[in-house]
Symmetry: none
Subunit: 217 residues, 4 copies
Amino acid sequence: MEKEKETKQKLLKCALQEFSDKGYMKASLRNICKNAGVTTGALYFFFKDKDDLFRSLVSEPLAELERMIEGHFNEEVNISYLLKKGEIDISEIASEEGLEDDNAVAREVLKYLFKNKDIFDLLLTKAQGSSYENIADHMVAMAEKHYTGMYAVMKGYDSKRQITAEDKFIIHWISHDQIDIFIHILTHCKSFKEGEKQLKNMMAYMIGGWFAVINIK
Amino acid sequence: MEKEKETKQKLLKCALQEFSDKGYMKASLRNICKNAGVTTGALYFFFKDKDDLFRSLVSEPLAELERMIEGHFNEEVNISYLLKKGEIDISEIASEEGLEDDNAVAREVLKYLFKNKDIFDLLLTKAQGSSYENIADHMVAMAEKHYTGMYAVMKGYDSKRQITAEDKFIIHWISHDQIDIFIHILTHCKSFKEGEKQLKNMMAYMIGGWFAVINIK
Amino acid sequence: MEKEKETKQKLLKCALQEFSDKGYMKASLRNICKNAGVTTGALYFFFKDKDDLFRSLVSEPLAELERMIEGHFNEEVNISYLLKKGEIDISEIASEEGLEDDNAVAREVLKYLFKNKDIFDLLLTKAQGSSYENIADHMVAMAEKHYTGMYAVMKGYDSKRQITAEDKFIIHWISHDQIDIFIHILTHCKSFKEGEKQLKNMMAYMIGGWFAVINIK
Amino acid sequence: MEKEKETKQKLLKCALQEFSDKGYMKASLRNICKNAGVTTGALYFFFKDKDDLFRSLVSEPLAELERMIEGHFNEEVNISYLLKKGEIDISEIASEEGLEDDNAVAREVLKYLFKNKDIFDLLLTKAQGSSYENIADHMVAMAEKHYTGMYAVMKGYDSKRQITAEDKFIIHWISHDQIDIFIHILTHCKSFKEGEKQLKNMMAYMIGGWFAVINIK
DNA sequence: GATGAATGAGTGTTCATTCAT
DNA sequence: AATGAATGAACACTCATTCAT
């Protein structure tokens, strides 16, 4: 029971190393096997192909992350729902307390990212060539859906029909930026603690920008 | 003199196509030569290696762009200089006119990016594997220098010595975001005209975020 | 006793499928096992190697067929024996009734081939690379022995010694053609009934050819 | 001019050897290169892939052969045309002289087959797995077209519409057999001279069979 | 009876690069 | 200025087979 998994684990470990060092495309399966002290055939016993090996490294943490992100954006949708009902007002969200609430969710996400720092570094910066090479875009698309609703509410639109192509563009950008914030912290901070500090400022930046966009038009 | 350049130009044209289609790493020199109707030997007469071919495509437009960016940020430095002297105040920068001024410079950059859209698309999104794979980071670093000065002024710091690691981080992020705005527009808009429209909102977003960051702390 | 055989049968069934689809060489044992829901180790418990697996599919029906063919050609030898004795004459063999008699035996063979159509399709058209790749030649050799005797008689030779190299060649060809007739029907007709119809014409063709050869020389 | 082609010729020579020894599928490009004293890269300079290498060996002789076969069958169509006109009668074709005429054409084909014996051995018996693996079927189809017309005439059909499925079957068989005669001689005789002798008998066999089929129904 | 793991040699193919001519 | 030829190392991947458990 221990021995069986040893090889697979060694392979995964060496794959993580190789992919992280060279990126998906330049990574050599031969090299991974050599480092794991196994023949290439052994690798193909455990994994269908190069892409499957990569997926085995990232798919589970990614699935969990996606669940979290969905949760995150549902929080925000709730806020916009409340706004619609007139129960809280915009200034309250922008206040220190409002940001604290928002950050609480983002912090959860960030915590998880750092819990699997090496995996997410790999996924978000070394996946080019794999089936996950556009994973960030996928996340942006998730964010976009929710921000679109939120935007309509804050603009005081009666229906989403009022959203113009120009609106859509800036919503897409902000969604992109939100995801980029996470990536940026992950790749620039060594620990969650360090990242947490920066997150506060970055979220403030994003929300500041958000309101500027809402008001300017 | 004409004939020589013909081959080289054909090679550059086909290289642009191939690199743009497949990205630097997946691009095949064989294929470039085949499309140019030349043998690989000919390519190696004009270019040292694959990377040199790539560089030949982007280096000139890039150099020009870098000159422009320096200019852009010098503009902003000027603003911060004026602020220091107390001759204009922050609210003025955030006013419609202030934004207009700022946009004027950014528009110049954007105009140039679109003038060489295919080249900059290549450089900014297809360079992975080449010596320019981190070119965006380089631009960010350029932006960072100037934003650092600006930030100190707006914070009312006497000297740059007061800038903390946390300050540096957010400055780096904003610099990164500034560059990303250009890339985003370049890769999402078909023409300069279209991009120009979006730029206004995105700059508003960035400046809104900037002030949020200045004030929150 | 039931369970054991279940696996083996499943394996044989999936092997038949795989070999029939891809031919012996391109067939993958991995794939056979996967389809059978078993590991490769299991396969090697029942079968020595790839060739043994193939042989296990075809050996029994083949042995039975060979017995039949021997019988078939003994029938013909009987005819030649009778001829020798002058009790019937050649024109009688070529007559409708003579052909009917001959067809009766060939029909038996054909019936058996169709009874195991998938197996004999496999053996006769998909065996390249296996130890049976020349099985048709082997059958031809069987036919050849008997046709040689028949030929001598019809030619009015006193002894087989009179058979020349040229005679041998045409005997070999006719033997080859006889086997080919069976293969052709098997691979071109869907049912025994359909094949039976065609057999009549093909045997007429062969016998017509046979007499032409006898007389021309 | 000599040196350039040396490698390619060596490669072709070794490829012919390897393909002939092991058949297309089992042939190893590595081995071919090793025997030619070249690296695999060199092979890929001259040939697109394994199949292209095989095609380079056989395509030209094959094209020439196909021209000849067309000619052959056109001869036969001429005969059937004359028959239609009533200018010659069937017995004449079956006579020694008629066969001599027919054989003359077949001899030409056979002569060419032996002129490139090794190539056609390769093409007709070792092509499995290559794009020529069904080349014999292709030739049969060519023969079939012409035999169909001939058959209708000899049967005294007014139009080809009268040809039944059963007729078609036997025509297909005879076409197949015609091609097989060539293959058989090629693979069983060492020289054209030897083959020529056998051809006469085999053509007699075929024509004897042909008339038997025509009359029996 | 059968598994799960692993071997090791092999496959065809592609690559950037070099160099004599 | 450019060709045609060739290198040599690398690539991902597949295979039949083995064997301790």
